[in-house]
Point group: C2
Chain length 315, copies 2
């Protein structure tokens, strides 16, 4: 396939669109607000307008484009090209996004989950280059994931594999938004970090963050930890430990070559990764650990775009 592909990373806040070459070079990028509240038709129109803007800016005609790959948050019916449900796109249910894009651009489109697309992007051009397999964990308000095995996204039987954030790492752990208890997400998401910080303050821990509990974010906790606040630091380290439990489970089950992390929390760097890897080392069988790379994603900005384009290429 020698033509260009449009890669679309549809997020709850922004739509990122890129014009991607067969080798994965992004010729042109364009970002625009999602405004999901305006409804699917408006969002689809904005995706297509951004794609055309990219082409114009790059001075390439539509005729050079072979197709469009879209990574969307939520549950995707791959066969139908439908976003069945998406907590990050309020009001979206059973949205036939693929045909909406195809009709508007008159180009074939492939739709996949955004974390799957990002995992494929990292596999293709980032942390998983030349690897056999990669699992990507996306750390944010929740914890998502994508699994790439032998160069292909593993979608599972009904297309919902990779719900890594909802594995239980403690049967009686804190309640998760999903209804389960002790999910990895309930221990190690940005939301969980904030909850644990509040609980620590309520239990009497002394931290400057106690003065700004309203609107507290994981970023604030990370900043305070860097400033030397031991309560914040313990919070970040504990997050790393919980992630280590989850990663160890993934390693035992799948024995992937690469486990990569993306999302704001990864900015904490060694403060997060050192306890994470320490936890993995004592929890994981030596054979399951052998040769596995645990690292930050290498394409935090572009993985979604190039991965979505790659989804189209491999379809």
């Amino acid at each position: 396939m020698d033509c260009l592909i449009v890669g679309v990373d549809l997020g709850g806040t922004n739509i990122k669109v890129g014009l991607v070459t067969p080798a994965g070079h992004v010729l042109q990028r364009h970002a625009t607000p999602t405004r999901a509240e305006e409804g699917p038709a408006a969002v689809a129109a904005r995706i297509c307008a951004a794609a055309l803007d990219c082409l114009q800016a790059a001075g390439r005609p539509v005729g050079e484009v072979g197709g469009v790959g879209v990574g969307s948050p939520g549950t995707i019916d791959m066969d139908a090209g439908v976003v069945t449900f998406s907590p990050n796109l309020p009001g979206w249910a059973h949205v036939p996004l693929r045909s909406m894009v195809e009709d508007e651009l008159q180009l074939p489109c492939v739709l996949d989950n955004d974390a799957n697309a990002a995992a494929l992007g990292e596999y293709w051009l980032g942390a998983g280059r030349e690897a056999h397999s990669l699992v990507l964990l996306t750390l944010g308000t929740g914890i998502g994931g994508g699994i790439v095995l032998d160069g292909r996204i593993w979608h599972g039987d009904r297309g919902v594999a990779g719900e890594i954030g909802h594995m239980s790492i403690d049967p009686d752990g804190p309640p998760c938004g999903c209804g389960n208890r002790g999910c990895l997400e309930a221990h190690a998401s940005a939301t969980a970090m904030v909850r644990r910080l509040r609980e620590a303050v309520e239990a009497g821990a002394e931290t400057p963050l106690a003065r700004s509990l309203d609107g507290l974010s994981a970023r604030d906790i990370h900043a305070a930890a860097l400033d030397g606040d031991p309560v914040a630091r313990a919070n970040v380290e504990m997050t790393g430990r919980y992630l280590g439990v989850g990663v160890s489970n993934i390693m035992h089950i799948l024995n992937p070559e690469v486990v990569a992390f993306t999302g704001g929390v990864t900015a904490a760097g060694p403060m997060l990764f050192e306890p994470l890897i320490e936890e993995v080392e004592w929890r994981t069988l030596a054979d399951s650990r052998e040769g596995v790379r645990i690292c930050a994603a290498e394409l935090p900005e572009d993985a979604g775009i190039v991965g979505a384009a790659r989804c189209f290429m491999l379809a």
Copy 2:
């Protein structure tokens, strides 16, 4: 491939050998004690003798056999055809079992892990017939597993995927033989059942089993539960609940079509499976549960043999 394949299920106690047709029919079976303590050469010789016995009993010449598939306990180096380590075959380390069999029978051989082979057998002819994907959990002294995705065993990067028993379901749970804490195996293996029963008795629980704690087995606990002993019954049910946590994790990560169980503990039937499925239902996202079949394996006797033969066919 029209020829017959010899399938070998090498266990710690017995070697089971079968003559398998291309359609998976077992024409002839032969079992012989493993006697691992006599060393790899003696075991390889016994495997080959059993294969020849099968052929003779079936009245088929060696010329009709295309090859041999062997499922062995332990860690397998697939490329080299070597059993690198096997707790169930004492003293075995770096045993080139594939070439030992090939040299003796003058037939090509494929070597894989026994749980992988059993999973492939169940996928091919048992609980996973016509399914998209299957995860098999083998419940015994430990908990092993095999993962079949799109008709192929998922081996992982270094061939050690499927170590399902060593996923942590409780970061501070009971110690596991592997050095980790809170492994599924430390909660739900036959060994864990016996340990929990002892602990209950030490804590004052009244059960007829208290009189026979020496040499107590999971089978005894199951029998007592069937006889109406509430302590034993709670033990079996709790085992089901812990397995449910592990199954829910597998469903979130892999979204397989079938999750099957094999091993002695499955004889407990509904007493084990009802709490297991109850646990899965409240813990697992609706999308991840949709269409998934959780069941006992259908070929507890033959899965290892036909699966090993299938490993050869697919190699």
